[in-house]
């Protein structure tokens, strides 16, 4: 199908600005206008979940180790964060999105795609809808969001990133090509560390450079992903906004407070991670048929080991036994282990006994309406 033949869609990507940190700064005046890091403590090998805009000039960013953040800015304030509260604020924001359109695809607590081609507010302009959403978010939560408006997901997401924080960027079809050309190669979807190195070695630094490569050449270099890069470079992205995107896996991991050598010392950590995963599975009434153990060693080498169960399960002892076997297989070599993770996947709903992979992971959302 060709882009031209379809009616142009109106897609908004909304991304909250420094979400966790902004909530804390809103609620605790002493944190305002200060470099703030929400995440693990620098002394316990934690990582940065979010940092305030005041912390960013120091080069602090999410997923960096908290110790590194501390090294870059010793005067930064480190706090642990309150997921329960962030989830609550997230619900308020999602309710605003759903007020506008049914086609909302949440990517995380603070980020979502909206298809507003048709919307409950009967707004013909996606730009006005984005403005109204940003206004309502601010009015309801006191927080700012950045929005990108365009005719597909890739461009909308890239646009929301363009003028952060508190920005609104619109990419119309006639401006798309110039916009893509000017992107740095790292801004394209699916370009991580490894891929970027590959592009670097080819001298590809911008979207304009990327456009020079033929589709055949890209496929040769990157296989299936090559098609995606080819289309992205031309501002094409046909993925629809899918409000029922199912979660395919659910995992928890933790960096250990000190490297561990013995399987018996790791087991309690595995148990705790499994309990967190199970709590979530049980809340949603689902069972998993596959359980995955992730081990990162002190030298940052990482392995995963998976076990497929005979029947989908959320039984603690059964899953723990499977994990114990995986752990003995993966970690008995005596190398120091730095991080452990447990992930459940291949979900089944309450009624499903066999067959039908990943069918049910859908909760009914609700919003209590107000009298005044």
């Amino acid at each position: 199908m060709k882009q031209e033949e379809q009616k142009l869609r109106k897609i908004i990507h909304i991304d909250m600005d420094a979400f966790f940190a902004s909530i804390e700064q809103r609620d605790q005046p002493r944190l305002r206008n200060k470099p703030l890091v929400v995440g693990g403590s620098p002394w316990s090998r934690g990582v940065v979940a979010t940092c305030s805009y005041e912390a960013r000039p120091y080069g602090i960013h999410s997923a960096m180790s908290s110790y590194e953040a501390y090294r870059r800015c010793p005067e930064a304030i480190f706090i642990k964060g309150n997921m329960e509260k962030y989830r609550e604020v997230s619900r308020e924001i999602m309710a605003i999105f759903h007020n506008c359109t049914d086609l909302v695809e949440p990517l995380s607590l603070d980020e979502a795609y909206l298809d507003v081609t048709e919307n409950h507010w009967n707004m013909p302009s996606a730009t006005l809808a984005a403005k109204e959403i940003r206004r309502r978010i601010y009015q309801k939560t006191g927080l700012t969001a950045s929005a990108g408006v365009s005719y597909n997901k890739f461009l909308a997401k890239t646009a929301s990133d363009y003028d952060k924080p508190d920005g609104l960027t619109v990419i119309t079809p006639d401006r798309a090509d110039a916009f893509v050309k000017a992107l740095s190669i790292g801004d394209f979807r699916g370009v991580g560390k490894v891929t970027k190195r590959k592009f670097d070695s080819l001298g590809i630094e911008t979207g304009e450079d990327l456009q020079q490569l033929s589709e055949a050449r890209l496929v040769e270099l990157f296989h299936k992903q090559g098609h995606v890069f080819y289309r992205q470079a031309r501002g094409i992205d046909e993925r629809s906004v899918n409000p029922e995107r199912e979660r395919k896996s659910l995992g928890k991991e933790t960096t250990l407070s000190q490297d561990l050598l013995l399987v018996q010392d790791m087991l309690p950590v595995i148990e705790e991670l499994l309990d967190q995963v199970l709590a979530r599975l049980k809340k949603d009434g689902i069972r998993a048929k596959c359980i995955v153990l992730k081990i990162k060693f002190a030298d940052f080498q990482q392995i995963t080991r998976r076990s497929t169960l005979e029947h989908p399960s959320n039984d603690r002892s059964e899953l723990l036994e499977a994990l114990r076997l995986l752990l003995e297989e993966g970690a008995s070599g005596g190398d120091p282990v730095r991080l452990l993770g447990v992930t459940a996947s291949e979900f089944y709903g309450p009624g499903e006994v066999t067959g039908g992979r990943g069918k049910v992971y859908k909760t009914v959302n609700y919003e209590q309406l107000r009298l005044f």
Partner: protein
């Protein structure tokens, strides 16, 4: 100070004033109960600065002698200990003596307690309220009005004025309203023709005060006097005064929230609906959202259902006395509805729906003194 008092009377009165005493007060003297012995009897006061209760034990009443005052005076004693002590004393009488430095001796039978008292001069004086805005109500009626509204006050402090019950009067009617912005309870009562109907508006009494007051109200028709000033309300019983601070702020205008049109009307048994919702809540309580779905069936019944993704679902049909108007599917917080149904003493209710996303009203069918308004839940 020195007096002897009938133990039973004293325990009763101490317990009453103790209701107002909070251990979490910021004013240290308010952790105590103030005792004043005068020629005509003993006065006790307890307060947490929001609520204050003053009671009086007369020296003599109806040929009974309750108190003998040997020496007039006053003292403040730590409520925590004092209230427990008097309850557990063995004798028929209790003797209280204050010596120097507020040292207090409490004697009963062969038991002697020595307590360190506090300076009564530090205890704040209760206001003398101006009687101009005064009316009275039967105690049982006031108790009903509290019970039928106070459950709907907001539990959150974000809008303090919503943590209280609003009093207003109109055409000789007293109207009590409580709302947390998701539901609203309204109860009216005719003021007795004899009493000078006061002109009340935006009198907001904290829900907590009313819950405490309710425990002091009797179930009979003896009256209680109500005196209202700018910042305080006082309820006057024989030998007992109950003061409460009023809440600041403008209470929302609720009159125009109550819809007049009906899209779907349902009439059914209060008890049957309550029991059905209680059953459906067994599941939805688990997910903490209490969401219940209701839909009208074509055959004079409504279906109640609730789904919890982990546990399962429940469906049941209720026979209604009457259903008219449009077909309807609506979701709501079932807990809010059952809270209201529990205080509706009538056998039958009428529910006035105005659409799936609009507020609906529940009223008893046999009188128009009460209504409950609810906003639905939107599911997606």
């Amino acid at each position: 100070m020195h007096f002897t008092v009938d133990r039973e009377q004293f325990v009763q009165h101490v317990q009453n004033v103790n209701k107002a005493v909070s251990s979490r007060t910021t004013i240290p003297i308010l952790t105590g109960i103030k005792i004043i012995a005068a020629a005509d009897g003993v006065t006790l006061t307890g307060s947490d600065s929001d609520i204050s209760i003053e009671t009086f034990i007369p020296a003599e009443e109806n040929d009974n002698q309750y108190v003998q005052v040997q020496e007039q005076g006053s003292i403040v004693l730590q409520a925590r200990f004092f209230a427990e002590i008097v309850k557990k004393l063995p004798g028929e009488e209790i003797e209280v003596v204050v010596q120097d430095q507020f040292a207090t001796t409490i004697r009963s039978g062969s038991v002697v307690f020595n307590l360190n008292g506090l300076d009564p001069e530090e205890y704040p004086r209760l206001p003398k309220l101006d009687d101009t805005n005064m009316f009275h109500l039967p105690q049982s009626l006031l108790k009903d009005m509290i019970r039928q509204t106070v459950f709907a006050v907001s539990a959150q402090e974000t809008r303090p004025v919503l943590t209280g019950v609003n009093l207003e009067s109109e055409n000789g009617e007293l109207i009590c309203t409580a709302t947390d912005s998701h539901r609203l309870a309204l109860r009216k009562a005719n003021l007795e023709a004899g009493s000078d109907a006061p002109d009340l508006s935006n009198i907001v009494i904290p829900g907590k005060s009313l819950n405490e007051l309710s425990r002091l109200l009797s179930d009979d028709d003896s009256t209680v006097e109500i005196i209202i000033t700018e910042t305080q309300v006082m309820f006057r019983f024989p030998h007992l005064l109950f003061y409460s601070r009023l809440l600041d702020g403008k209470y929302p205008v609720t009159k125009n929230m109550i819809p007049s049109e009906t899209k779907t009307g349902v009439e059914l048994s209060t008890k049957e609906l309550l029991q059905s919702l209680d059953r459906a809540l067994l599941l939805s309580r688990e997910t903490k959202n209490n969401v219940i779905n209701l839909k009208t069936l074509g055959d004079g019944r409504v279906e109640i259902n609730s789904v919890s993704s982990e546990i399962g679902k429940v469906t049941e049909n209720i026979d209604c006395d009457k259903i008219d108007g449009e077909e309807l599917r609506i979701s709501f917080n079932g807990k809010n509805i059952t809270d209201a149904l529990k205080v509706i003493d009538s056998e039958k209710i009428h529910i006035q729906f105005t659409g799936a996303m609009s507020p609906f009203v529940v009223r008893p069918t046999d009188h128009d003194q009460m209504l409950h308004l609810f906003s639905p839940v939107r599911t997606y």
